[in-house]
């Protein structure tokens, strides 16, 4: 029974992320975690839907939101989802350098998204005096979008940590599941964003 995790060209499995027992566990366990996250975000969405018109004479969704920035943020995040797919494609082909390259692009896109979100929030606060405390709508908006933003922030720290930690030693069966699980997380963040731009911004504009 060999417990050597390194990959040689001959031993490269089709699915390096699930080649070890630990990898299989991580894969399954993380999917289950995402199932739980679905409920977490659904509860936040539900709260937002219940409170989205409770503006307490403050600014309404229609007055606040501008679609241009949201569209740019959406494209940034969607593209970063594709780049992480590219990264996984190169992982399966055992091409570590290209994987790191695509992950790097993912990180840049993710950070740009975060920057835009911070700009957006400061714009609301300074321009409209619309804060976490100004109305139930404000609380619900910042909590829902902020939870998503928090997930993006955590994902960025995770990704950059992974890339730096493994930069020198390349791909092996020990870290392949870690990269794969990150990519799942990143896609899931995109899934949540699709509903945020639809439910919060677009539906906010429609009224």
């Amino acid at each position: 029974m060999s417990h050597d995790h390194s990959i040689t060209p001959e031993s490269m499995p089709n699915e390096p992320e699930k080649a070890t027992q630990e990898g299989k566990n991580k894969f399954i366990g993380f999917w289950f975690f995402l199932g739980g996250e679905t409920v977490l975000f659904a509860s936040l969405f539900g709260t937002y839907i219940a409170l989205r018109n409770s503006t307490a004479d403050g600014p309404t969704a229609d007055e606040l939101f501008g679609l241009e920035l949201v569209f740019i943020m959406t494209i940034l995040l969607l593209t970063s989802s594709l780049t992480s797919v590219y990264a996984m494609y190169h992982m399966k082909n055992n091409n570590f350098k290209k994987m790191q390259l695509w992950l790097g692009i993912t990180a840049i896109l993710g950070l740009s998204f975060l920057g835009s979100e911070i700009y957006e929030f400061t714009h609301y606060i300074t321009g409209y005096d619309f804060t976490f405390r100004s109305s139930a709508f404000g609380s619900a908006f910042y909590t829902l979008v902020g939870f998503h933003g928090g997930h993006v922030t955590f994902g960025m720290a995770w990704l950059i940590g992974l890339m730096i930690r493994n930069a020198k030693r390349g791909l092996n069966l020990y870290n392949a599941p870690k990269f794969y699980v990150f990519s799942l997380y990143w896609h899931f963040i995109d899934v949540i964003w699709v509903f945020i731009f639809t439910v919060v911004y677009l539906m906010g504009k429609v009224g």
Partner: protein, 617 residues
């Protein structure tokens, strides 16, 4: 790793071993210890409640303190006693039952325990820091938002930390059961306790996030000035009720389903028969879990949701009686014609069936909307949920402890004391709670600290309090039994009950790697098949080889400790600036530990083959 060697080590070494362990069997000990400690605490609170109510207009405790007692009794018993004790049984048994050497995430398993423990400690620190939470275990807003002092803050933060631990534990068991089953152990060959653990973990996974969100909203409202529940700024109090019960009702099934598994094991073993209707039992469990998610609004009948919503939820609730009834009949049919041994474990199972059935029956009564307007917030409801939670969960935990004690600790609990525990507790339980149905029907509201005399409530309350003392005696006898067994008990054989499932093939207590060679499973009741058709032991599925084991780690303890510190920071930053030191310091400890865990490779270690060969079988 034998017990003798453990006794020869110093206390410090043993303590360090438990603080750093990632072995599911030791984590089970920790859960039993932690859960047991909080069970005694919750029991003391219950006794104080009953003493206060022994006579009309009693002044044993003040009104405010009574509110704290009833809040902490409910919160402690559900989150800090019942759930950890259940997780303890799961940790002790499930990996053995499915033929696994370990759980899927040993590190996370340990983290789950320490999060629960520190969450529970944080919650109970409130007693010494200006008063415990006093808004009821359901923490309904606006009462919980406006409750003065820091009591409810401790409720919010403590439950948040403990809840995270439970969620981690649930995911761990899901992954373990999906990926770690021994060769031949198909899903439909798993013992029923493994099945109910699996389904319970699914419920944990989908129910706890709703609580997490609810607690966050409450936390933001109380500590950071948001307006979710502030009607003046457009907030809505019903949101809390929905979120709480979307979590809260599945939680009821999280509390009971694992014990259904325990009873299925105990009844089959001591009837010397295969469980009647195994497949029906599995699907009934799934059905209960499924329906259990769709009935949360029956806790909110009197809120005014409207007749359509109320009717839908009433019918869905009554439908749960069907799969539960299937289970009751299957247990009875398992015993029918069996060779029944009545010992302490079996007594708890036998006591459970009528008790739980009464609880189920009153459940259907309160599910009827029109009648519920009468029952709501009276002692009838108190009686109902104690019949299901004590009659189901607590009886089940006792049954499981008596049944698996020899496997966990290598010693059998004293039978005479075991029976005494059962009878005092059983009689005491019915004395305490049966009469409360009638107190409720006579209109005694729950959560009131006094009642007036000459309203027909005096005698009933007196009887109820006397019953509570019987239950206390039962618990004390059980504690004496534990000490007596630890000191005087004889070493037990591997398979004292002539068991049917795989855990009884391992040593008592099992080696830390559980199985020297992974067993090959040939059917349901894996061990029983080998006893009747084979060599009495399962055939190994693999040649003897090196065994891969995870390394111990102190990080889970430190991470949870960091959150514990940060919890105080969150609570006190409202009115003290120094609290930010705690907040950021605690978070730094936790994130630092997470970083260490991420950056440091942990490949575990191997037990070499020759070492295994030299060890006695």
């Amino acid at each position: 790793m034998s017990t003798v060697a453990a006794q020869n080590r110093g206390f410090g070494a043993v303590l360090w071993d438990y603080l750093t362990t990632v072995d599911h069997k030791k984590i089970a000990h920790l859960y039993l210890f932690g859960g047991g400690f909080f069970f005694l605490l919750g029991g003391l609170e219950a006794m104080a409640i009953r003493i206060q109510l022994i006579q009309p207009e009693n002044d044993f405790v003040s009104a405010g303190f009574y509110n704290e007692l009833l809040t902490m009794h409910g919160t402690t018993m559900i989150f800090l006693a019942a759930m950890p004790l259940i997780l303890g049984l799961m940790n002790a048994v499930v990996p053995l039952q499915i033929g696994a050497r370990d759980v899927a995430f040993p590190f996370l398993n340990s983290l789950g325990f320490w999060l629960f423990m520190f969450g529970g400690l944080l919650l109970n620190c409130s007693w010494f820091l200006g008063g415990a939470p006093d808004a009821g275990w359901t923490g309904y807003v606006p009462l919980s938002v406006t409750s003065p002092g820091h009591g409810v803050d401790f409720y919010v933060v403590g439950l948040q930390i403990a809840g995270a631990g439970t969620l981690i534990g649930g995911i761990n068991f899901l992954a373990t059961i999906v990926t770690m089953r021994a060769p031949g152990m198909t899903y439909m060959r798993m013992p029923l306790f493994a099945w109910t653990t699996f389904i319970t973990s699914v419920l944990i996974l989908f129910a706890f996030p709703a609580l997490t969100v609810g607690l966050f909203l409450l936390m933001f409202d109380r500590m950071f000035g948001s307006a979710f529940f502030d009607v003046g700024l457009g907030g809505n109090a019903i949101i809390w009720q929905h979120l709480f019960w979307i979590f809260g009702h599945p939680e009821v099934y999280i509390l009971i389903l694992p014990l259904f598994g325990v009873f299925s094991e105990v009844i089959a073993t001591f009837s010397k028969k295969r469980l009647f209707g195994y497949t029906a039992m599995v699907f009934a469990t799934m059905l209960i879990a499924f329906l259990g998610f769709m009935v949360w609004a029956h806790h909110m009948f009197t809120v005014g949701l409207g007749p359509v919503a109320n009717s839908i939820f009433a019918i869905a609730t009554m439908a749960i009686a069907v799969p539960t009834g299937i289970k009751i009949f299957n247990w009875l049919a398992t015993m029918w014609g069996g060779q029944i041994t009545i010992n302490s474990a079996m007594l708890w199972a036998l006591g459970f069936i009528p008790t739980f059935t009464i609880g189920g029956m009153t459940g259907v009564m309160v599910a009827s909307v029109v009648a519920d307007y009468q029952y709501h917030d009276t002692y009838f409801v108190v009686a109902h949920f104690h019949y299901v939670i004590v009659g189901g969960t607590v009886f089940g935990i006792f049954a499981g402890l008596h049944y698996w004690w020899p496997k966990m600790f290598g010693r059998i609990l004293n039978e005479a004391m075991g029976k005494l525990t059962f009878w005092t507790f059983f009689i005491g339980f019915h004395l305490t709670f049966f009469i409360q149905h009638f107190l409720g029907l006579m209109g005694m509201p729950r959560r009131y600290w006094v009642y007036l005399e000459n309203q027909g409530l005096d005698l009933g309350n007196q009887i109820s309090t006397v019953g509570a003392f019987f239950m206390a005696v039962g618990v004390i006898v059980f504690l004496i039994n534990i000490v007596y067994t630890a000191v005087k008990g004889e070493k037990v054989v591997d398979d004292p009950w002539d068991g049917r499932t795989l855990e009884w093939v391992t040593a008592s207590p099992p080696a830390h790697y559980n199985f020297k060679q992974t067993p090959l499973i040939r059917g349901l009741d894996a061990l029983w098949i080998e006893k009747t058709e084979g060599k009495g032991r399962p055939t190994p599925a693999e040649p003897l080889g090196d065994i891969h084991m995870p390394n111990s780690s102190f990080l889970p303890f430190m991470m949870s400790f960091g959150l514990f510190i940060a919890g105080f920071g969150f609570i006190y930053q409202v009115n003290h600036n120094w609290a930010y030191i705690l907040l950021f310091g605690g978070m730094a400890i936790m994130l630092g530990c997470m970083l260490i865990r991420s950056l440091k490779d942990d490949h575990g270690y191997h037990i070499p083959k020759d070492e295994l060969e030299s060890e006695a079988d």
